[in-house]
């Protein structure tokens, strides 16, 4: 395999890891508004992701850094082309990040209200924006012959991309609810599961709508149907299987299923892109291929060595940290946040 293809794969894996891990953080953040009924439940929810959300966010930073290093043109085209959405994404991530730390520092109501809002917006906007952006990638964007993107509002915001954004919000919310059912006790745990049951139909309809729109708006199923039709089908079958799992209260399996769905959906974007990193709507000649966007082989080789050494270590201590905090969080014990 070419090194550039390997790095395309690695960046895909980083985004998949990010959506899988930070996905439940976003879902839990949304749940602080929709699920928690009082202050104590809110705090329990925040504490379930307390030790992890920061490290989970690093998956996104690493993906961004890896894009810069391995595919400077991809990084430059995407980040400058989506300038304003990225500004909003950054503001949302900033607000969420400090809110976790700041919210518990003072007891007044207004103080809590401000940071609760920051946590909520900071948890619902990023998955929405990322869903929109990923959908934009496969829909194609006006990229000129100098690799610069000149997207207007409706290139980025249209029925298809907004559906993609909503699908991401709903799927990460379901994923977060599953995480909550695994990490809490008592009523909170019950309510998380029941809410997921209630959400099941609505979210499912959005996911199906997204699949249909993908068929109409992209060449995904005609060009790479041999792999993408199975990927989407498995995702939808898994989604159907989720319902009986929820009814029976199989929390571990439910979480596994929402994880797999997010993994499949996120992977599908990268499969659709391949062998390009940017699809241009101006003309196929303006597509940016993996090879065109990539850094030189020397640089990629160095980074491959670093990544192959470091990734197992990072995965090792990440898993260890989840093992340390494997216990359910309850209001009967010390809550840090």
């Amino acid at each position: 395999m070419e090194l550039s293809t390997l790095w395309f794969l690695l960046i895909g894996v980083l985004f998949v890891g990010f959506v899988f891990l930070e996905g439940f953080d976003f879902g839990v953040g949304m749940a602080t508004r929709f699920l928690a009924r009082n202050e104590l439940e809110k705090r329990v929810l925040i504490n379930t992701i307390g030790p992890h959300w920061d490290a989970n966010e690093v998956w996104l930073l690493t993906a961004g850094g890896a894009m810069f290093a391995a595919f400077p043109h991809w990084y430059a085209t995407v980040f400058s082309g989506f300038y304003l959405p990225f500004v909003v994404l950054l503001l949302a991530l900033i607000a969420r990040g400090v809110a976790f730390e700041f919210r518990g520092k003072q007891e007044t109501k207004q103080w809590r209200t401000i940071w609760d809002l920051a946590i909520f917006l900071g948890s619902i906007l990023p998955p929405f924006l990322l869903g929109v952006l990923f959908t934009c990638f496969i829909q194609g964007l006006p990229v000129d012959e100098h690799m610069n993107m000149h997207a207007n509002f409706f290139d980025i915001v249209n029925l298809y991309t907004v559906t993609g954004g909503l699908a991401f919000v709903l799927l990460t919310y379901m994923h977060g609810l599953m995480f909550i059912s695994l990490k809490t006790t008592g009523e909170l745990r019950e309510n998380a599961r029941n809410t997921a049951l209630k959400m099941h139909l609505l979210s499912g309809m959005v996911v199906v709508l997204f699949t249909i729109l993908t068929a109409f708006n992209t060449d995904a199923f005609s060009d790479k149907g041999w792999i993408l039709i199975p990927v989407y089908s498995v995702a939808i079958i898994l989604y159907l299987v989720l319902y009986p799992l929820l009814v029976k209260g199989k929390e571990g399996w439910s979480f596994t299923v929402t994880s797999l769905i997010l993994v499949l959906v996120t992977s599908s974007f990268f499969i659709t892109l391949f062998p390009n990193v940017v699809i241009s709507t101006i003309g196929d000649a303006n597509n940016i291929s993996i090879a065109e966007a990539a850094s030189g082989n020397y640089s990629l080789g160095i980074m491959t060595i670093v990544a192959l050494t470091m990734v197992p270590i990072v995965l090792g201590y990440t898993i260890w940290s989840y093992y340390i905090f494997r216990k359910r969080v309850s209001h009967n014990e010390h809550l840090e946040y």
Binding site: G50, E57, G65, P72, F79, I94, V98, S295, S299, T318
Partner: protein
């Protein structure tokens, strides 16, 4: 217009980010040290110290992390042509920084915050040390990237861009070797003076005297060592500048024509950029030769000479950076650094004479001294980055050529205003929370823990 706005945004977000970064780097180390003393000496006072300063550390760390996210993205957002040109070399250290440092600090800070009762003491101590090492590794890699902008090495120009051909050269860049220790010492000093100042305030108020005397003792020692370290590593920076970035050096000296031999160091000058002269100079003989070469002889090239050379090398153009800014930011940095050495030394002497808690005047000075490292850090970075102009990569790419061609002035203005507003709010909240924690003092911390374990005390802080 786009260029000016993008530069203002990069400068302001970076300067703001670097208020919190050195505190995080320095405090993580100081707290790790305190917690080590707790385990070695089995004295609960040190545990209290780690927890109390840890509270400030965590508030600061959160702001440092979120303001850092912007840094990772804005090369691509605002400087896409720069990113295309240097990504092959410059991107690698950034990606490695994330993989090597960000994961480490973020995972182990979670383990440290939530691990007080869950982890064995030694593993918990190891966590904070790994956070400390993580913050320093992060500095190493981002400095490696910055060093490439100052002194590009380890690359060839292929396919119209800089491509890496020697990774070892990139990470042993002479600039990196002098700038990295300088930054780490500066970070240790920044955090030390923060702890020193807060302790001084409490000693003045006679609150928790034992606790803050111990805190001030540790940090006066670290503060003095690191301030001296800053001076020595700063000196090696100057020696590096003369050979690798002579234009920056000449601008920092307001030196238009070549100096005499031996060269005098200018303490003060009235710089006239139009006429290209520096009037009413106050010179200290021999000193510039010493700073540049480590001996009392040798002349230093002036800006006019270097400009003529560069015109031959790079073609027509103005290669002189903003001289006054470079000149004065350098002097402000040196003055602040000098005061830091002096105050840490006097403080330590008074401590050893057992008079620190009654030296009212000194304590007031030490409170004021909290600001000194920030002044020095900021002016140091301004000198380094303004002095690099008009280049974004020294000798390779002009700042004008690095900008994103597809991002409008309106978009940048919007983001500049948005980031400025949110950063201002962050700063206000952070100062407010710092004051709250400090006023509460180190003894109330545990009380909170008791109430928050009570399920009926809804709304108590944990």
């Amino acid at each position: 217009m786009e260029l000016i706005l993008a530069r203002i945004q990069f400068a302001s977000t970076t300067i703001f980010h670097f208020i919190f970064v050195p505190i995080s780097i320095g405090l993580a180390f100081i707290i790790a040290l305190m917690q080590t003393l707790y385990l070695v000496k089995k004295n609960d006072m040190y545990k209290k110290m780690a927890k109390f300063w840890g509270k400030l550390f965590l508030i600061n760390f959160a702001v440092g992390v979120v303001t850092g996210i912007i840094q990772e993205f804005q090369f691509g957002m605002n400087w896409s042509d720069y990113s295309r040109f240097v990504g092959d070399v410059f991107g690698a250290p950034l990606a490695i920084e994330a993989l090597l440092a960000f994961f480490m600090e973020s995972t182990f800070i979670g383990l440290w915050i939530f691990g007080w009762d869950r982890l064995p003491k030694k593993i918990h101590l190891l966590s904070i040390w790994l956070v400390s090492i993580g913050t320093m590794l992060s500095a190493l890699w981002i400095m490696a990237a910055n060093s490439f902008m100052q002194n590009p090495v380890g690359y060839t120009i292929t396919n119209g861009r800089a491509e890496m051909n020697d990774f070892f050269a990139v990470i042993t860049n002479e600039k990196l070797l002098v700038a990295f220790p300088h930054t780490i010492f500066a970070s240790l000093a920044t955090a030390s003076f923060l702890v020193i100042g807060i302790s001084a305030w409490n000693l003045l108020k006679k609150r928790d005297v034992d606790f803050f005397k111990k805190s001030i003792h540790i940090t006066l020692i670290i503060g003095l060592i690191s301030s001296l370290g800053i001076a020595f590593s700063g000196h090696s920076q100057a020696k590096y500048l003369v050979t690798a970035q002579p234009m920056k050096m000449a601008a920092a000296e307001g030196l238009w024509e070549d100096s005499g031999d031996p060269a005098a160091w200018t303490l003060f000058a009235n710089i006239d950029v139009e006429q290209k002269v520096s009037n009413t100079r106050i010179d200290i003989p021999y000193l510039l030769s010493y700073l540049s070469y480590g001996k009392f002889e040798g002349k230093v090239e002036g800006m006019n000479t270097i400009q003529a050379k560069y015109e031959k090398l790079y073609g027509e153009g103005d290669y002189i950076p903003p001289v006054k800014t470079t000149f004065w930011s350098f002097r402000i940095m040196v003055a602040a650094g000098g005061l830091m050495i002096l105050l840490a030394l006097v403080g330590l002497i008074q401590y050893w004479r057992k008079k620190i808690d009654v030296s009212t005047k000194l304590l007031k000075w030490l409170i004021f001294a909290i600001s000194l490292p920030f002044i020095a850090n900021t002016s140091g970075w301004i000198m380094s980055e303004i002095g690099r102009q008009p280049w974004v990569v020294n000798g390779l790419m002009l700042t004008t050529d690095g900008i994103s061609p597809n991002v409008s002035a309106g978009s940048i203005l919007f983001s500049l205003i948005a980031f400025s507003v949110i950063y201002t709010l962050l700063a206000i909240v952070m100062v407010y929370l710092f004051i709250r924690v400090i006023k509460k003092g180190p003894n109330d911390m545990d009380k909170e823990d008791v109430t928050s374990t009570d399920p009926f005390s809804v709304g108590r802080v944990g």
